[in-house]
Amino acid sequence: MDWITIISTTLKAAVGVETVLYGIAAIGVNIHFGYTGLLNFGQAAFMGVAGYGLAVTVTVLGLPFWVGIAVGLVAAVLLAILLGIPTLQLRADYLAIVTIAAAEIVRLIFRSVAFKNVFGGSDGQRGFSDGFYALNPFSEGQYGFNLGPVPLFFNNRQLWVILVGWVLIALACTMVYLLMKSPWGRVLKAIREDEDAVRSLGKSVFSYKMQSLILGGVIGSLGGFLYGLAYASVQPDVFGTETTFYMYTMVILGGAARVLGPVIGSMIFWGLLVLIYGVLSEAVGAGYITFMDTNQVGALRWILVGLGLILLLIFRPQGIFGDKREIAIDAR
């Protein structure tokens, strides 16, 4: 068993690119779902339109990187408005399905042959990240340190993405913290509890929901940019419902309506995913586990992830940071 590799990859995963990009998109989900009670299951679509906005602008239209970012942001805002106008008056569970549907529509269009010239079909687009890496302050090489015997190194490209990602997360968390302590956040939380009561107190529920949808969507879109930039490519299927599910899982794991919940949730999720897989595949490779072969390790990992998820929520239904009292009220 190569414990050093397992520990090293796990620790790196816990702060790595995926953690960052899912974490930031999950912050958006937390705004939607945790604070406003909008069951938006289409968060992946916000990531998608941002990633593709950037990709298409740079590769197809040949415009510069920053224009691509702007286009991506505008696309996310537009999607929020388009999605919001028809759906924000729906009951929570209806909204969930409609947003899944909308996200699937977006994904299917991205991957369709009909629009292959624009979006690149099922393989997506690549070659739009040079502008981003041109800004990279780190020169070629490996950066990091040894934690005891455990090496923790990232190459310059990864480090740049991760750095930008964590800065964005810090900004987003600060913003969420400020907002949710303010009267603005109070209105959102009130909407989560009972829209009609909020209406009767003279607040425009629709407007606040829309603001929430746009804010969460734009933050989600940052995740989309990070994806595109980190992988230097976008593929339609990355922005599927599965991705949104993972983000919800992260939010609940960390604790809904907690500022740091989604970030911690994302770290746990990816850490767990990598740790389980590392241990399993090493154990099979080294012959400690004999009843299965390598083909099944991938599946077993997901089984254990599912199990871990179940157990975590059984024993800590409020998530890591959540408040048990809230759950008790909820459960009536």
Binding site: L178, P183, A190, D196, A197, V198, L201, G202, K203, I329
Partner: protein, 316 residues
């Protein structure tokens, strides 16, 4: 004791004004008032075959406390829903402060100064009682997205709001529950919170849907004082209530609905002896209102006994 002073004073400026305004009015349904804040015309709402509301003409006098009574299912709540934009009327029009309000969405209705409470309470469960209250305040600077990001812009206002909220909570005996989740309140406490929150809006017209159902009578009594205070502050109150003692005690004018329509109007005393009202609504039991003097006499008696007891105890 709060209630007492008001019950006895009874002749405060506003009350007198209100009573004067109603003095010469005819006792007909839909009678015009001298200074109406709310004027309703031909509001109809049907559910399938059932006509829940069919109000021809009704006016609510500014600065008065008006009670809306009527048997269960008369359409009172539905009527409130139409007026406050929570449901769309099939037809009809109404003005508030001279402004046409039909088709106006609920939050705009509330902002224009006409706030209602819900009969089946709507506590914001996972917000604390205090947050519930703060939410009621209007024109909060911090409710704007961009200003929300800079706490110094709204802190001052927030403190004011909190102070006001604390005041109300004390009156409504909810101060001990200040930091508890509203979801953990008892049925009666929710009613109280609902009303207190509506008052945070500082509306011109407050529409209370059975505010005191399920509230402890002793507390009800002290709250009535508060409602009267509202009138003193120039607020208009329209409330639905089945507690006749309360109606009798604080209302200046009573509107009676039955089967969707307004069937009678008048001052509380007259209305409660109206044959039709007794028939449809009050039943045999409630036809003997207590005079105010009788009431106070009883109170004094009780107080005397209490004092005696305390003395007894202290002597021990």
């Amino acid at each position: 004791m709060h209630a007492e002073t008001h019950a006895q004073a009874g002749t405060s400026e506003r009350k007198a004004a209100a009573l004067a305004a109603f003095k010469d009015l005819a006792r007909d349904p839909g009678v015009p008032k001298p200074d109406p804040i709310l004027v309703v015309d031909n509001v109809v709402r049907r559910f399938g075959g059932l006509t829940a509301v069919e109000v021809g003409h009704v006016e609510v006098q500014r600065g008065s406390i008006t009670a809306l009574i009527g048997p269960n299912g008369a359409g009172k709540t539905t009527f409130f829903n139409q007026l406050t934009g929570f449901d769309t009327a099939d037809s009809g029009s109404w003005t508030f402060n001279g402004r046409a309000m039909n088709g106006v969405p609920a939050h705009k209705v509330a902002r224009s100064g006409m706030v209602r409470t819900f009969q089946l309470t709507k506590a914001l469960s996972k917000l604390t009682v205090m947050e519930n209250m703060r939410l009621g305040a209007q024109q909060q600077k911090g409710e704007n997205f961009f200003r929300a990001l800079v706490p110094s812009l709204w802190r001052g206002q927030e403190d004011e709001i909190t102070e006001r909220a604390e005041d109300l909570l004390t009156r409504f005996k909810l101060d001990a529950k200040r930091d508890d989740f509203a979801g953990s309140l008892s049925g009666g406490q929710r009613k109280l919170l609902e009303m207190a929150r509506a008052l945070m809006v500082q509306p011109e017209l407050v529409m209370l849907d059975e505010p005191m159902a399920g509230v402890n009578p002793a507390l009800t009594q002290s709250l009535l004082g508060h409602v009267k205070d509202l009138r003193e502050q120039g607020m208009t109150v329209l409330f639905v209530e089945h507690d006749m003692d309360m109606v009798r005690d604080i209302s200046d004018w009573v509107i009676v609905m039955a089967q969707g329509a307004v069937i009678a109007e008048g001052p509380p005393g007259t209305i409660m002896s109206d044959e039709r009202v007794i028939d449809a609504y009050l039943g045999a039991h409630h036809d003997a209102p207590l005079s105010e003097s009788e009431l106070t006499a009883q109170l004094h008696e009780a107080e005397a006994a209490l004092e005696a007891e305390i003395e007894e105890e202290t002597q021990k």
